[in-house]
Subunit: 434 residues, 3 copies
């Protein structure tokens, strides 16, 4: 157990996470471009990030890295000269990846390029058009409804040029080459919960894991959604079998309780681990089956890879009203949620670190625990204390099939107790690591 290296008060890390989210929030990110680069640079101030640039036109499986998109400013001006949309006010106002456009046009001509949500009339929707050349403005529906006929001035000052797609990676070497992957998408513009919260929790977890000795190597990936993880998988295809466990981190700052979405394998060790950690925590939580829609688990869990990667969230994508709207702002982020999300991630890593399968070296009858000082010597009590029961459970089920997690589940004894007891048995040579 590594309780010694657990972040003592996580207060500083919670403050760090809040500050990081606040600093990243105003940046206009996309799946390529300087907003994404700036984001990774700021993350790199917290943890040592390796930055990778994948040139436009690079073939990555079925996809091609697109031209790089950059926005200077996009404005939409009403016939009376008033500003309808201005990315200097809110960068969701522009359809993300809009082609450059400078034109005056009638409302009729403009209308197909306006995006709004009738059921959420006060919020700006988040819309993108990465792979089909298009332009547009996203507006509160209330604003769209009040537009009057006349000539509108469209000014979209963007560039789409050969460049590159940027992603950042932090690799924390462990005692083994076996890897745990944490992935957070870094492409969303001014949206706080989705996914600056995921980035912030990943950064905090990386900070903690960097300061301790880990059995696993940890890899943190900050990449644009879909095309970013596809790039990473294409470039690292030969090494993905090192990934033994993984989590996509997203929507971790809202006030909801934890939701875990299983990996496609559905009963991988990461799935059992998260379920166990959440069960032991005893707080409300939800465990959902894998579905092939969501975040970058879609790529990690594509059938050709089928990696053991689940998703840790609070309220899932699409399940909170502010999702993909201007209302997913800093007000949605609860510091206590960030702290709880980080704590959950750390519990999961601790469980992964200590979980193992062992072989009982004395499998014929019980070994005599008393003479090794492992067991109370005065018999006759109805039940031995918890750790003595843990010794018996571990010895009986350490047959090469069951890991400590499973023994904890079977016995109902806390994984921490099981881990301490397993270490005692290892020290006495009654267990052998498999």
């Amino acid at each position: 157990m590594r309780s010694d290296v657990t972040p003592s008060p996580t207060y500083d890390l919670t403050e760090m996470m809040r500050g990081l989210i606040a600093r990243l929030y105003p940046i206009c990110r996309s799946i390529t471009g300087d907003g994404l680069r700036q984001t990774l640079r700021i993350i790199g101030e917290q943890i040592p990030l390796e930055i990778n640039e994948v040139p436009t036109g690079t073939q990555v499986f079925d996809w091609t890295v697109p031209q790089e998109w950059n926005l200077r400013r996009a404005t939409l001006t009403a016939p009376d000269g008033s500003a309808i949309a201005d990315t200097d006010v809110h960068n969701l106002h522009v359809l993300n990846y809009s082609i450059p456009m400078q034109k005056k046009m009638s409302l009729h001509e403009l209308k197909p390029h306006l995006y709004s949500m009738p059921d959420k009339p006060d919020w700006i929707p988040y819309r993108t058009s990465y792979y089909a050349p298009n332009w547009g403005f996203c507006l509160p529906h209330r604003v769209v409804e009040q537009l009057r006929d006349g000539e509108y001035a469209v000014t979209i000052d963007t560039t789409l040029t050969d460049g590159s797609l940027t992603y950042g990676e932090l690799f924390i070497p462990g005692q083994t080459e076996d890897e745990v992957l944490f992935s957070a998408h870094a492409c969303h513009p001014s949206l706080a919960n989705d996914n600056l919260s995921g980035i912030a929790v990943a950064v905090a977890a990386a900070k903690i894991l960097s300061t301790q000795t880990n059995r696993y190597s940890y890899r943190f990936l900050f990449a644009p959604g879909t095309i970013g993880s596809i790039c990473w998988l294409a470039i690292n295809q030969s090494q993905v079998d090192r990934i033994k466990h993984g989590l996509v981190l997203s929507c971790l700052g809202d006030g909801g309780s934890i939701t875990y979405k299983r990996s496609r394998q559905s009963d991988a060790i990461i799935d059992r681990t998260v379920a166990h950690v959440l069960r032991e925590a005893g707080t409300p939580h939800t465990i959902n089956p894998f579905v092939p829609y969501g975040y970058d688990e879609r790529q990690f869990c594509s059938p050709g890879f089928n990696l053991p990667v689940g998703v840790l969230m609070r309220t899932p994508n699409g399940k909170y009203p502010e999702y993909h709207t201007s209302a997913d702002n800093l007000d949605l982020i609860k510091p206590e949620s960030l702290a709880d999300s980080l704590q959950t991630v750390m519990k999961i890593t601790r469980a992964i670190e200590c979980n193992d399968r062992y072989q009982n070296t004395q499998p014929h009858c019980e070994p005599q625990l008393g003479r090794r000082g492992l067991y109370s010597n005065t018999g006759g009590n109805a039940t031995p204390p918890g750790y003595e029961m843990a010794l018996l459970w571990i010895l009986n089920y350490s047959d090469g099939e069951n890991d400590l997690l499973e023994i904890s589940r079977k016995s109902g004894i806390a994984l921490e107790t099981i881990t301490i007891a397993a270490q005692m048995l290892l020290d006495k040579l009654l267990l052998r690591k498999l």
Copy 2:
């Protein structure tokens, strides 16, 4: 999808089924003989039936084809000259397969040869003695109770002679040699639901399937119960492995809801298909486990064959009071039940026809659906429409393990939508047929 070839209004077929049942009802059938032959001839007026005659004495597995039985008339006359039983009035009056008998006897001598049901005193029971030479009369219990001492005249004008057992078969060739078997027993005398209804639904389904191009070949078997299917299995033993799916059709005209009895395999494709079709229909239904008692599934599902053959019924055998009595008459048959039974059979065949396992040809990460015109290009919405979700589900789970039925079950998306989406992916070469 074959919605184009679905029977448009099934009204005509329902009328055909009603008419066929009414015409067949008065015939005195048995497991051999002219009643059976006449029945097959009438079916043959609707669909082109191949008639097979299996000679008396033919060894079929553990059984021997019995002598052929024919009834001219059987009467039982009371001491006062009144007619107690007369097969010209109801052919259930004679113990089916009665040996010839012409004798006067006391009530005492007669009694062991009378069959009645104390709990259903107004109905004539259906009883048979195929393999033990015997004779008898089946009577309403009310009649039996009123019989007085005196001399009774028994006249059973039957013949038991070397002849043959008759069965009829229709084979509708499909694009493959893989077969779907539909089997309906054709031996019951004047009993309407059991099983003229099964015969009628089979005939209607055969009519529809004959008019369309099918992937599977379809075989319709009309044979006497037990010995008939045993004959067929003995004669066709070398080819039964072509049967990929099968249904015994019986009791399909009563007012009850659909009941499906699983095959012995219990989770064969036919079992999953029927369960899926009934679930999607959303109407009340029952799914029962296999039991080795019932209809000809007893033979198809004997352990040496263990064919994937289930039973489609409405109210099962033995579960409606009129079962195997003179009350299983034309009044029990509901046209809307016949229509619904036929519709269910056709839904099952459509599901079987379109179900398949595919291999995703681009299993590493998602293929780019947008550039193939398969996917909306403006991202950011919470959920894509149903068919876009279907594309993702099919791609993710087309790993050679899951068929479309299973993907429909997993995703909760209608099999029809899944089938349309799979066809689109096939057209774009993103799937390969296995």
Copy 3:
């Protein structure tokens, strides 16, 4: 079926069990010594027991057979000369395996050697110290609380010398070398339910099994807990694979209902058999999962052996208040519980004896049961009688996979009916034993 050899009235055996328990109760047993020897000698008066002595110092797996312990008398005298504890009054008064001690001492010095239960102040606890040299007295807490300062006289007249550990065995040869093991621990001093009841039921079962022809060989083991079964397993290691089924018998005399604790395999034939017998009995009962704490199943089910051995109890160890106290006395034993426990054991042995897997010799279609006299010849009834259904179930599922127990479970037909029907099919050569 062996209903002919079932103990007719078990009255005599119930009386025998009560008498045996009453006679063994006063003896001061331990894991070695003359009390244990005397116990085995008395058991040997009922059934022919082979006595084994394992010398002190013998290495048995991870354990060493300890020195032999014998008690003449232990007394604790108060400053005023009154007797506080005296093993002539109750042999639980001494910490079992106490080293010899003759000393006067203050209450302060004495206190760490006194064992009592504050929550059960009137009862003497049962405590042992087999493997750590120690001495002590076990007292009602009420007594301990009233002890006053002053000089106490401790006299523990025990011997700990090289000698041996004793266990007794009865082997009843059957038609095969396959064995059923019954094991009852014989080391507890004056405790009636735990485990003189287990010993008594084992003796009664052995008496019955000795008088009949059995397919299995039966082995009854009466050994001290833990070290005794470890000795037996070490000595018989090469032959333990003959044990096909086994039960530890303990706590079988109290008024509670039957509890079965599954073997570590959890779904071994013995587990299915006991579950089936208890289900068919229709009386309240509990089935618990395996846990690696309890009686000698801890050794039989250690991962190196993993024998199919469960535990038959009424109220389990630690679950009745009198457990391991002086209140586990003769008053706790109910004759009707002993009788019911014996009856349950005999039902289990009958089920084990008759259970088997068969192969249907005519697996293609049903064999013709009627011409073999196995089946009613007048067809048309809704349901054949139970045994005819049993014939069909057995024939259909005798594919080498399912044993009679499983067929009974699947069909819901009583195992006895299934067994009778299987015998009829065997006689007609329609089944072949596997």
